[in-house]
Amino acid sequence: MFEYAPAPESRDIVHIRPSYGLFIDGEFTDAKETIKTIDPATEEVLAEVGSAGPEEVDLAVRAARTAFETVWGPMPGRERAKYLYRIARIIQERSRELAVLESLDNGKPIRESRDVDLPLVAAHFFYYAGWADKLAHAGYGTKPLGVAGQVIPWNFPLLMLAWKIAPALATGNTVVLKPAETTPLTALVFADICRQADLPPGVVNIITGAGETGRLLVSHDGIDKVAFTGSTEVGRQIARSVAGTSKRLTLELGGKAANVVFDDAPLDQAVEGIVNGIFFNQGQVCCAGSRLLVQEPVAEEVLARLRTRMATLRVGDPLDKNTDIGAINSAVQLQRIRDLSEVGEQEGAERWAPPCELPEKGFWFPPTVFTGVSQAHRIAREEIFGPVLSVLTFRTPEEAIEKANNTPYGLSAGVWSEKGSRILWAAQRLRAGVVWANTFNTFDPASPFGGYQESGFGREGGRHGLEAYLEH
């Protein structure tokens, strides 16, 4: 046997302070109340961060308003671009530090934070820096909205920050951003990067806290725009609170994506895509390919190959460079995954996971596949947001599309086939904001991302991502 010795990435590069304040108007200010953030792989407390209350939210919004009116709004696009380029370069320079910190606070494997998250974060800032002085050519006007209140989730903490802040700043808006309660640390280092880049005070404000802080932010009268990524349930509450105001809203919510494998698919790569679709980031991905739809003639073969492949997945220490699957982000999330998996068994689906040792401390769930799943099962309809795949079969392409679309969500979908015409045919019929062909979970800042139905509305990324931040 060829056993890989532990190859941990050093955490010496990260200096976590015992406590962090709120980043308001270019300064860190202590909050009245605090919350703790932990490493989900060890349950060790990493730091204490502020929990912004009404007064602090108000201060942050006011700082953003002042910065919008006096500095950032009037600044020519080409000048804003310089700041964004500078931020992008600093992110690249500090990418190892940020990757290690992201893995510590979130639980995701360093391989992903290093090779996926951080390169995409920098790319996003570079991409929108390029738009800042070319807004007239984008077709959505050139006038910014004002102050954006942005609330982001814990699954891709820094990447979601980039998706929110980069287009907002490029278009001349200022922001108050609230990172998720369980993953605030990289956003706080980003605040430091803003200072390092000499970004004018108040243009970016980072306020930490739990759900209540988010609620205070999105319902604050002083903001012009709400951007939220997170659960459909919270998205609904936000939509209600924004209704009847002049605030603009974009929501990027849950998903239950179908990954459709036709019998003429490149099977080895399809298996790789299935693994990447559902086990990437422990399946805690809104666009995860959580429903595998496989055509009956190849179903057995695909499942056999998938099981073989899953047995090679390495679960464990997120900072080990050879880890494929890290820790679940929180105890709450782990419980949800466990509950829904039990429902899957109770409803008669067959559960399988490769033998793998899980660490005793921390929040862990093995890569799991359910076979014999039908559309009626809850695990085929509800978002699990964990490393749990539900496998369904189909007989004809029409049936595949019907099943794929039979969901209240519509964020992403995957199609696997060697036949180009079939891919185009399927892509036209799948009701999903993103359709991947012979790949899955592939991202690029130039490509718009967003959902249908209960997966939300508005697009982030690409030229389309500018629209939500411009008056037109």
């Binding site: 010795a5 490149p266 060697e418």
Partner: protein
């Protein structure tokens, strides 16, 4: 009578996906004890090769000495690989060492000779004591669609090999597409290959990680379907210990640990051995001693 063959319907290979998978596996970090284990394993898998027009008995004897005495307590390589006319020299030089003698037969590297010539080439090498024959397939026939001709030649050469193991070189750099690589792999295995081998080393690109990935998938699937295990040899362009370890990771996570022995996986190389030996010294002493401390043969 030569049996006719039919190639089973094989799933396509998506180029982007295969290359992404190989690139991702190349990021595995093999350190400390795992690295030491991998380096020793890689040494035992080396087919130490010299295939030059300028080869002489003297050069081959020197290479054989290197194979038998790699230095220190390093393990021995699997085989020495030479042209057919130098097989006898290598056999004499390696007598009693347990190291195999592989020979490239069948009008290597182009394979552009009449079948009779290829058969004689093979027969003479085997008669001189070659324990392994590395043949090349007829890429012209393959690319023109005459798979039967390619198959028949492999079957014919295989029967000339008698006890010697047959490695079938696909020359993937000339087959170009991964679909072709998969097809040629299956064809060679159905025709009786004991090993399938990426390249001659005379065409660029020679061995690459994605090509080897596709071939490892082929031997894995072939055993699952037909019950016979076939080995894989990656040859050409593998120069550093780091490269070699990447191939071992690929084997480990694609075909599986069953293939991680010199019986089922080989690395065809010339300069690789010295880098493996240098890295081995570095691991045991903690310092690089430099190229003058490994022998040049």
């Amino acid at each position: 009578m030569v049996p006719t063959f039919t190639l089973p319907q094989l799933p396509g290979v998506d180029q982007v996906g295969a290359e992404e998978r190989a690139a991702r596996l190349a990021t595995r970090s093999i350190k400390t004890t795992a690295k030491a284990q991998a380096i020793d394993l890689a040494i035992t898998m080396v087919d130490l090769t010299t295939l030059e027009g300028a080869d002489t008995p003297g050069k081959v004897r020197a290479l054989c000495a290197k194979a038998a005495h790699p230095g220190g307590d390093a393990p021995r390589v699997a085989a020495v690989c030479v042209y057919p006319d130098l097989v006898a020299t290598a056999v004499r030089a390696l007598h009693g060492t347990g190291i195999g003698v592989a020979s490239v037969a069948t009008a290597f590297p182009s394979g552009r000779a009449p079948l009779e010539a290829k058969l004689i080439d093979t027969r003479l090498a085997v008669e001189d004591g070659a324990t392994e024959i590395d043949m090349v397939i007829d890429r012209g026939a393959f690319l023109s669609g005459d798979l039967q001709k390619v198959y028949d030649e492999i079957v014919a050469i295989k029967s000339e090999c008698r006890q010697a193991h047959l490695k079938v070189i696909l020359e993937t750099g000339e087959l170009v597409t991964y679909d072709n690589v998969r097809k040629a792999s299956w064809l060679a295995m159905l025709a009786g290959a004991d090993f399938i081998k990426t390249s001659t080393g005379k065409v660029s690109p020679a061995a690459t990680l994605p090509v080897t990935l596709v071939m490892l998938e082929a031997v894995r699937d072939f055993r699952a379907e037909q019950g016979r295990q076939v080995g894989v040899k990656a040859a050409g362009g593998i120069r550093t210990a780091k490269d070699a370890i990447r191939y071992l990771v690929l084997v480990n996570e694609t075909a599986g640990p069953d293939w991680l022995t010199p019986q089922w996986f080989r690395l065809g190389a010339s300069s690789l051995l010295n880098d493996l030996l240098m890295q081995r010294q570095k691991l045991s002493t903690g310092a690089y001693s430099g190229p003058d401390y490994v022998t040049l043969d």
